[in-house]
Subunit: 213 residues, 2 copies
DNA sequence: CCTACATTGTGATTGTGTTCACATTCACAT
DNA sequence: ATGTGAATGTGAACACAATCACAATGTAGG
């Protein structure tokens, strides 16, 4: 087994396949072709097949894919066959929004801990979790089986919290602050930077009178 | 002037340069080199130079870039020299978080309208804007100079709202729902899909024992 | 069993973005 | 005015991702 490199984009799409397949299953589809799946996801059939081919041969030529078994295979591949335990740091507006966003749980992600350093918030229950004191982050995360930490604290606090998370042995961080975190290579960091996305949109909508050559 | 294609990633980085430069300026730096800027942004100097080179020659060889003038040039390029007017649809948890996130304004984005269809919310003031009836989206957006619409409504409602926005002539949409929107080519759409990002992080942190060849 | 047809799986190709490496240019000291 | 050092700007090379196009392989029907 040669484990050729898998494009990182492929993983993102795999999740979207997983989501679409679950939906198709619910609607009673038993067999799906790469064409169908591609249409639902707004991409090309060849991309679907290539993506899946990195992990094996899941289809039947001339027929398509068995939806139920494919969805399970994908689940395994992207490690969503087990619940993913998430810790949330920072119960501001965004943090609260995340805690109340029940859809995550349906997709395999469960926020099992939440932290804030504001005494007036500690002890409160939001969604289904009790807000704990941020001072305990390290010991709490070290012990429990947390797969992923979401960082939703003010910009100025991110790097300090990130340091603590690193010490606590966190493996992945999803942050909502502009990505100034310089983390060691063995820790995965993704930043959601809305300003960057907005700037891109604005630029494109101004310029996309593209190359009328 | 040949308008060579500019990589879309470049635009995103341009915004980060803008941000970092503003910061360096505040700290009193007057001249920055591609090296400095690259360090701050955690990328390579060559990338910085290449990115800038798509738009002209802004530096002085042997010296570097004049921070103040570069920041202005970038501002113009990414159209942030004027305020960007943003409309927000959906005042749930995320919408509220965005309205209260004052940092956007510092970066040139201003949420000037907000809509919801819940009568109990209409008329309320959140942040600095009054929540309007979603029924008026079309006429309100058609008339005013909105550059960008943020869609923060429940998944099931997105495509319906998107249709309305399209009719209203919106040019760009930033959505928080998994991206099932198929929009005509002349409208820019970006989706923030946290589940996809989380899935990617989890996958990478499991697999990144990469190719120890 | 053989033919017609549908759809997969994939090597080859194209396209796009990043990085290298070096010639060019400027500031400054002598 | 000339040489030295520093940093830019960029064509070329590389790396990675998307797409094509077709051989391989299945089903179904006579």
């Amino acid at each position: 087994m040669i484990t050729k490199r898998v494009p990182s984009e492929t993983i993102g799409r795999l999740f979207r396949y997983f989501r679409s397949l679950s939906c198709l299953l619910r609607e009673g589809e038993e067999i799906v072709s790469s064409k169908t799946l591609a249409e639902v996801c707004h991409i090309k059939p060849a991309t679907v097949r290539k993506d899946l081919s990195y992990f094996g041969e899941f289809g039947t030529r001339g027929v398509g894919y068995d939806a139920a078994s494919l969805v399970n295979k994908i689940k395994k591949i992207i490690k969503l066959d087990k619940q993913i335990n998430v810790a949330l740091v920072g119960i501001g507006n965004i943090g609260r929004a995340l805690l109340k966003h029940s859809a995550f749980e349906l997709e395999g992600f469960k926020i099992v801990m939440a932290f804030d350093n504001n005494p007036s918030k500690i002890g409160d229950t939001v969604g289904n979790v009790i807000i704990e004191d941020a001072a305990n982050i390290r010991e709490r995360i070290e012990s429990s089986g947390i797969h992923l930490v979401i960082l939703a604290v003010p910009d100025y606090a991110t790097s300090k919290v990130a340091k603590v998370l690193q010490l606590a042995g966190a493996k992945s961080i999803l942050s909502f602050s502009p990505c100034g975190l310089s983390m060691p290579a063995d820790i995965q960091v993704t930043c959601i930077d809305l300003s960057v996305e907005m700037a891109r949109l604005v630029y494109n909508s101004c310029v996309d009178y593209r190359e009328k050559v």
